[in-house]
Symmetry: C2
Subunit: 714 residues, 2 copies
């Protein structure tokens, strides 16, 4: 009996040992970016589809990183279940990332499954923008290059034979309460479970600091996206059943009332069939698309078309794609095998010839996330067991589908040398270079704010859209957040009138406008005008995203990784280099704001605050809850109603703190990729000895910015 | 280009073909139970641990089943991702099962992942009582014998090359609304995705009708559980920090106030350490366990002990189990490898010698479900990537852990020839013979009711516990449901006083009783007395569960599988052969009840109702919302305060409808397994010519039931 016991345990030890995979290969991919390969890595990974080249010069100009562990300390093991990766973790480290997480921010101590999903509850890691990528405040990032459904245990496991786990005198609680209290022991490492894999690639991004890690990540993926400049204005999506005349009428409403707007988005009914999609104009709704687009252009609007990628039998794309799609249908439509470049090409060519050449400025690429639900005979997406001609399976296709759909559509614009700003429902890693804003049907304002922060750890652009609201206060608070985000989107796909005229859905559609509709319209105009004033600053922040990899929207911990007060601060964020935003939600009349080290100015009152402390602010519904960092030159433009290639911004430079300081603006044509060939200007702003000066350098002819005035805030 | 396209597609077809596994083997396991095997099935499956033998005679006495398809129509295919099983599905079929589902009932059209989980939101199939088993109203059941995480697409997928999917003229909606409307096409089959498997066993249970399928399933697993008769009384769990004297005081409260109660459950603090567990009495709380148990026995109480299976370093079980546990710890405790019989033996022997022989009547086996969450350094369970000495991995162990834990503890009682009624937090398939009631922290009353129905499709016992409440109405409605369920459990683990004296947690613990506490106590006593009156009827229903496999609690569709009105009826259920329960929840003052074919009597008013129709009922808070089927002889006992082996029930037989009719009661010692050797009586009740008669047959000496009176309800 005893003997039997021992031999079973010995067998177990042997099994454990056989689990270990000793051979791993390290490749240096770029400055501060290493790849560890073990076993037989998968073919269909996020990085396999990243065709953008690393921005080598920018990468090389970052300070040298330093890992807090040796690469050899990353353990990779394989067995018949899959691959396990174990990465060292220091007791004091804070972890962030895993994509566009909704409910969580600091990931330390959590179990996270970054799996693509349309309606992620439970806070288990599901999101429509997952990445298998996390970063540490100790200045490094780890990316598991897989599209399999993966689980990360972020310092939340304890191993039987791990000294850390067992040698410490453990205080066992004898109740759940005590268990919760007794929660300060740092155990384990980061353990990654990748079932089904036969090998893996682990990408290690060095710092030295947290922001440098994200810079390396974004630069490695080709640099951050630079949207068409008009994309930084206001996007408004009209009601789903609007016909050509109704859309034009809506466009006229904006111009007549001088409410800024750059893009109108057209919803499903522009097509002859939408679930699944035909990609053919429905002539009863839009009798003359060319005339329609021309009219819109005349009025200064870009047109964005809603679609998804599931191809209806009624579509001209059906026959060409029938042999290039998965073996399951979604709503009766084909699921194109976007993992195959020829398939992407067919889809792209059709869209190019039919829409992009016609003048369509962008698309909303919907339904490319997966769903838990199925109802009746309609599965909301394809099963994980699906097979595609390229060899990819449904699970991996789910993780990559949004990424590949973006790539397919973005490539059309790229090769046409036209810039765009897309909407996309799902994404993944290495998407930094795609100018596509994620959106979601979930509508929790607190989560929407958290996602702004998390987007900065993910190389993603997040668009917290505004639809209906519970109250005018709710509406205005949501609108403030929208104006302070990467895309300002009002999605009225089920609203006859703009929500600022009636926040209630039923009344809105019955044409019963609020008594104070005009007042609220005035208020929203103020917010939109602020957004338009901010366009040059935002555009330059996006240029920094592209050329330096700095996320334009990011958590405070990225700029202040040593400040413990920022570790769990998930409702404040940086915009560009000098603005700190602290949005309020419906239930707040005031809120607590933490200002990190330095001097800060309340944008609304110009009051000066000492950093390293908490303050309470009470911005009104038309004020922006933002602070400006001392030393910032904030260039604010006289608001235009929309941006054209010829738009010239008349700018006032606000100098915060009367010290010698510099700022800069990025100047190019705003709509082509010519900046990639150096065809742009850097407009350097200099404040010195109580005087402002500008210095323009670069090869772009003409100017976009006219510096009208300098004003010191002190 | 064209050529390339074709060859890719040909390659795809070849790949598709290579997916198919043609060789499957069929074995007849018992009358109407077939097993299809393909590939290399897993070692660690639910059935692999079912040691109960099929009840062959009972199985053979069921009417012969008839499948609506050929066994060969079940397609099993394997590839490098895993195994896919496809089972035919008729357009009109309704599907049920997948274990103790919380949010869903009719599974037709859903995507279901029956995965063990402590707090299953989203309605994706997660539950603490999953089974990979579903039944069809066409009279068959399918069980995928796996403990891997599996997904079922229940007629919610459409295949590209499936005639059904593509040939129909499909009405594409061009909006989400139309998509929802256009939902009447029956597509696909049942497709089962079992990633990681290299082979599979599919168990097919024949009918001919739905109830027969469940009978076969339960009989095949050894017959349904017959709890100790005292288990059908009231169970009350005391506050977690009660010491010996406080528990005794609570026992005295019940007896002094004549409130029926059979079992007191003791919460974590009876142990020296509980998170993880020591399984050692904490002498500061329970200075003399033997005297305590004796006192409780004197007062007519059974003692049930809370524990979980994660073994603290402070436990005497730690050293013996250290080499027989998984390689990850939970709360610093070992995870015993319950897949290994020697390990189960060590755990069981300790419990037997330390507790069962001491007189402990049962255990509450907590925390054996998995959790999504981890917080700080504490993972709420072991990772899926865990390895155990037996060779099972963490994923499969999770699915089986509750099942194996039950088996470990139940086996102690079985070999001691003592019956019990356990509480368990997780279960799986083939658990029919375990007298263990599942419970859950989720507290949605509607879900609790739905789970009573779903338990009948799962071979599980479900206990919708009562804790705190929003209102007295809420409390009474919950109590009614508890009284009308398989175990009546009041779980006051965080309440100083019984909830009927104070429903509010804070006030309860501050000792502030409600003004009308005594009135509510009177009301609850009425409900408890009804429960005690029902014990003989319930006990006989459980005997039918054991000997005939008929679930004592079950959905109406099981008795009326042809009645469309029952297909989605998820808030009414049958208790035994003649009672229909239609519980109300907090917000209801009245409710709609559907009565199926036949004549029914309102239990409270004796009003007669014609079946096949809907009615509205308004039972008060102390009335039971039940209907009795015409032809039922309902034996109701004079309520006792607790059940002992010597208890004699004084019974009135209520005859519903003055026709010649029969009923029966099961009579045995109530506490041993001697009934398995035939040591029991059948007490047949006969109403004929306005006169009642009883006929006792069997080898049990002595009687438990004294029929005092017959009363006709007409």
């Amino acid at each position: 009996m005893k003997k039997h016991t021992i031999s079973a345990f010995v067998l177990f030890l042997i099994l454990q040992a056989s689990f270990i995979n000793t051979i791993a290969q390290v490749t240096n991919l770029a400055a501060g970016v290493q790849k560890i390969s073990a076993g037989q890595p998968d073919k269909f990974t996020p990085y396999a589809f990243c065709e953008e080249l690393p921005m080598k010069t920018a990468l090389a100009s970052l300070p040298a990183g330093k890992l807090p562990f040796k690469l050899a300390d990353i353990k990779i093991s394989t067995n018949d279940r899959g691959v396990v990766v174990e990465i060292p973790l220091d007791n004091s480290e804070q972890l962030y990332g895993f994509g566009l997480q909704l409910g969580s921010f600091n990931q330390r101590g959590l179990k996270v499954k970054p799996i693509v999903n349309d309606n992620p509850l439970n806070d288990v890691g599901y999101t429509h923008g997952p990445t298998t990528f996390y970063v540490s405040n100790k200045g490094y990032g780890i990316l598991i290059n897989t599209s399999r459904y993966t689980t990360f245990y972020c310092g939340s496991t304890a191993k039987l034979n791990d000294r850390k786990s067992t040698d410490t005198e453990r205080k066992d609680g004898n109740s759940v309460d005590e268990l919760y209290k007794n929660n300060n022991q740092a155990l384990g490492n980061v353990t990654v479970d990748i079932p089904g894999a036969k090998g893996i690639e682990v990408f290690v991004f060095e710092g030295p600091d947290l922001k440098n890690v994200m810079q390396r990540y974004n630069l490695f993926a080709g640099g951050g996206a630079l949207p068409a400049i008009w994309g930084l204005g206001i996007k408004y999506r009209v009601k789903a059943d609007f016909n050509q005349q109704q859309v034009i009428k809506m466009a006229e409403y904006f111009r007549e009332n001088h409410i800024p707007c750059d893009v109108l988005g057209i919803e499903p009914k522009w097509q002859t069939a939408a679930y699944s999609c035909s990609y053919v104009w429905a002539k009863d709704f839009f009798p003359d698309p060319n005339a329609f687009i021309a009219t819109m252009k005349d009025k200064g609007f870009q047109v964005n078309l809603w679609e998804h990628a599931f191809v209806s039998p009624k579509s001209p794309l059906y026959e060409p794609l029938k042999t290039k799609s998965g073996n399951y249908l979604v709503w009766g439509g084909l699921v194109p095998d976007f993992a195959d470049s020829a398939t992407r090409g067919i889809f792209a060519n059709y869209h190019d010839n039919t829409f992009v050449k016609q003048g369509i400025s962008g698309f909303k690429m919907d339904e490319c996330d997966n769903s838990n639900i199925a109802f009746g005979s309609n599965s909301w997406s394809f099963p994980e067991l699906s097979r595609f001609p390229s060899g990819i399976d449904g699970e991996q296709m789910h993780q990559l589908f949004g990424l590949l759909y973006q790539k397919t559509v973005y490539d059309i614009y790229k090769r046409s040398n036209k810039r765009t700003y897309l909407d996309v429902r799902a994404s993944n890693a290495f998407a930094s270079s795609y100018p596509a804003a994620l959106y979601s049907d979930t509508y929790d304002h607190d989560q929407y704010i958290k996602m702004i922060l998390n987007s900065g750890f993910s190389g993603m652009i997040w668009s917290p859209e505004v639809r209906e609201s519970n109250s005018i206060k709710d509406f205005m608070r949501r609108s403030q957040t929208a104006v302070l985000s990467a895309q300002t989107l009002f999605n009225s796909w089920y609203l006859q009138n703009p929500p600022w005229l009636q926040i209630n859905i039923k009344k809105n559609n019955a044409g019963q406008l609020m008594d104070n509709a005009k007042e609220v319209e005035d208020d929203i105009r103020k917010l939109f005008e602020f957004r338009m004033s901010l366009v040059p600053y935002l555009y330059s922040a996006f240029a920094d995203y592209h050329f330096k990899g700095i996320p334009p929207f990011r958590a405070l911990v990225m700029d202040y990784p040593e400040d413990k007060n920022t570790f769990n601060l998930s409702d404040e964020y940086m915009i560009g280099s000098g603005i700190l935003a602290a949005p309020l939600t419906e239930k707040m009349d005031e809120r607590k704001v933490y200002l990190p080290a330095g001097i800060w100015y309340d944008f609304n009152t110009n009051q000066k605050y000492e950093g390293g402390k908490y303050y309470t602010i009470k911005p009104s519904l038309t004020q922006l809850p933002i602070f400006i960092k001392e030393g910032t030159i904030l260039p604010l433009a006289k608001p235009v109603e929309h941006v054209t290639p010829d738009t010239k911004f008349e700018i006032t430079c606000f100098v915060y703190g009367n010290h010698t300081t510099t700022g800069s603006l990025f100047e190019d044509d705003g709509v082509s990729f010519n900046y990639e060939k150096g065809n742009y200007n850097s407009v350097n702003l200099l404040w010195d000895k109580n005087k402002g000066a500008i210095k323009r350098s670069g090869s772009l002819k003409g100017t976009r910015y006219i510096i009208k005035k300098w004003q010191v805030i002190n």
